[in-house]
Symmetry: C2
Subunit: 344 residues, 2 copies
């Protein structure tokens, strides 16, 4: 399944809110459609959001019928801010927008058409790079998976969360390709059930054995020695190795530590926020309470019920056994290992 | 809300699968209706199941139109086995049935009418006792709640899970009555959402401040110091203090230990299985995978998705700071403290 398709100047985004029961692509005609797709989580997953935002800029560049380069740059600047304000936690969004911004800020395009072409090239490059980096993550990480492995994973970190292939799921996929025998326990990942709806579907499509559990079963599974390792993705990695990821990740890391089970994070280097010293400074998005009060538009509790709905949490570096990136496997102390790959 | 109503030889059970959006009572005309209500979790919660089963015996005693005492005793024996086989984990079911069985086994009723009357009296006694014991639990436990308390609770342990008042929620209720300022975080409790549907409703009805969270948020909440204590119910307590309770309880206990937050269990003494040495011997019920594949009959994932659905887990005694019973507060080492109340 392809999460994002760019073809003939048109962007199609797979509506992940409807998976797995319906497979529908949303046509994004302009940057506002992309903003809507990110806000409603039709496209989600840190790397995929970054790629979608980059194409949002490309669509935005076509919104003005002008040859005035200043006018178009002003427009792009506004669009960029709007795209940036969709979701606060995952850093790949900001990273991708900054790469796009670089083209109109630092290069002196005087020709609108040329700038537009370069923007498209850059977005396609971000897209293709993401797949390439995911494959590198897979290659770097699959040896951490034992020959017969029961793996617990969380949320969705597969092709759907990225431009393709996947981060944590990419490693699992690569391990499978290297003939390792694998059983994955996929946590359903409330409230939006990305684990149940997306991860289970991707793994079954790949012929990888998978069992669905509710999030609250993870500890009991570990206690029964049914889990050899935990592997998750990341939405933002600080320079000290603290990791923001889907709400519930932190609980899994504590449970893994208690049971002496390795806890791994997989992400492309674009997920590292070198400027952020530690996890306390990460802005955690709080989403609409209705995401918890209703499931698939079916009301569970009354509207007046008060809800706390943070979309992410932060796992401190001391609970993480390794961070697997396209640039290699990072280990504690992460300040050093992250600083080393920054220099590359 | 009353979970179980016995009136004029008729049993009405509140259908908890439909709460909070619909409030419907199911009329149980015979013991098979009670079996169905327990199996489908129209009635749930260890103490409430015990009470319902006792009335199932009473209804069963009226199923035969005979004066033959032997015939009726044989019938009751069969019914008892069937009621016993509904759910394997909570011990109150077996405890209540044993109390009922005692009447036709050890006492020499020769008169069918007299036995029937005694059975009804005993069931009503079990019902009334449960409420009385719950109040004692509340009285014994409420001093463990600080003056301004943020309390995390799990599943439903209120009036709905019992004949009335509740165990863990009973303590919270009693603390509120004693003018303590309380905010409860209620974990939704997947898959059947007893926390979201039942606990939130009960607390709001009582005017106790409550916020709903998904189960995977508990760790992050603790990390933010938003939780002062955790209090849960129990389905079976072993003689060493190991506790079987709703799946997810164990994870909360590990998380509480990691964050140095007190973890309390509340239950009537009928939940203690004095004959079971430790939690490893507790049979953990596995329920229908459809409970996870669908929510309120709305399919989330396809039918072919493999699911692991244990209904309970076991929390070892060393993660439990106190077990609050009608007979007092039990502390580690539980072998001693539990043995002491057995003798009473």
């Amino acid at each position: 399944m392809e999460s994002i398709i760019w073809h003939n100047n048109s962007l199609k985004i797979l509506d992940q809110t409807k998976l797995p029961l319906q497979k529908e692509y949303v046509l994004c005609k302009n940057h506002k459609d992309v903003i809507n797709a990110i806000n409603t989580m039709q496209v989600r997953g840190a790397p995929a959001i970054g790629v979608a935002a980059a194409f949002g800029i490309v669509l935005g560049s076509n919104e003005l019928d002008t040859d005035n380069i200043k006018e178009i740059k002003n427009h792009l600047q506004k669009i960029k801010e709007n795209l940036k304000n969709t979701r606060p936690t995952a850093v790949n969004l900001f990273w991708a927008l900054k790469r796009m911004e670089h083209l109109w800020k630092n290069n002196n395009y005087n020709n609108v058409q040329m700038l537009k072409k370069e923007l498209e090239n850059e977005a396609v490059k971000i897209f293709e790079e993401d797949i390439r980096l995911n494959r590198l993550i897979g290659k770097n990480g699959f040896n951490l998976i034992p020959q017969n492995a029961n793996i617990l994973t969380y949320c969705n970190t597969g092709a759907l969360a990225t431009a393709g292939f996947g981060t944590a799921l990419g490693i699992i996929r690569m391990a499978k390709k290297n003939n390792k025998k694998i059983l994955v326990y996929a946590c359903e990942t409330r409230p939006l059930l990305q684990g149940a709806r997306l991860t289970v579907t991707e793994l079954m499509d790949e012929g990888i054995e998978v069992k669905l559990i509710t999030d609250n079963m993870a500890g009991y599974l570990m206690k029964q020695k049914k889990v050899d390792l935990v592997i998750v993705g990341a939405d933002r990695i600080c320079s000290n190795g603290d990791v923001a990821n889907k709400i519930g990740t932190y609980s899994l890391a504590v449970l893994a530590k208690h049971h002496k089970i390795p806890f791994y994070v997989a992400a492309p280097n674009s997920t590292i926020d070198y400027n952020l010293g530690n996890g306390e400074d990460i802005v955690i998005e709080e989403r609409n309470p209705e995401e918890i009060r209703s499931i698939f538009n079916n009301r569970i509790v009354k509207e007046e019920v008060r809800v706390y709905n943070p979309a992410f949490d932060v796992t401190p570096n001391n609970l993480i056994d390794a961070i697997i990136t396209d640039k290699g496997i990072l280990r504690f102390p992460y300040n050093n290992s992250i600083n080393n790959i920054r220099k590359e």
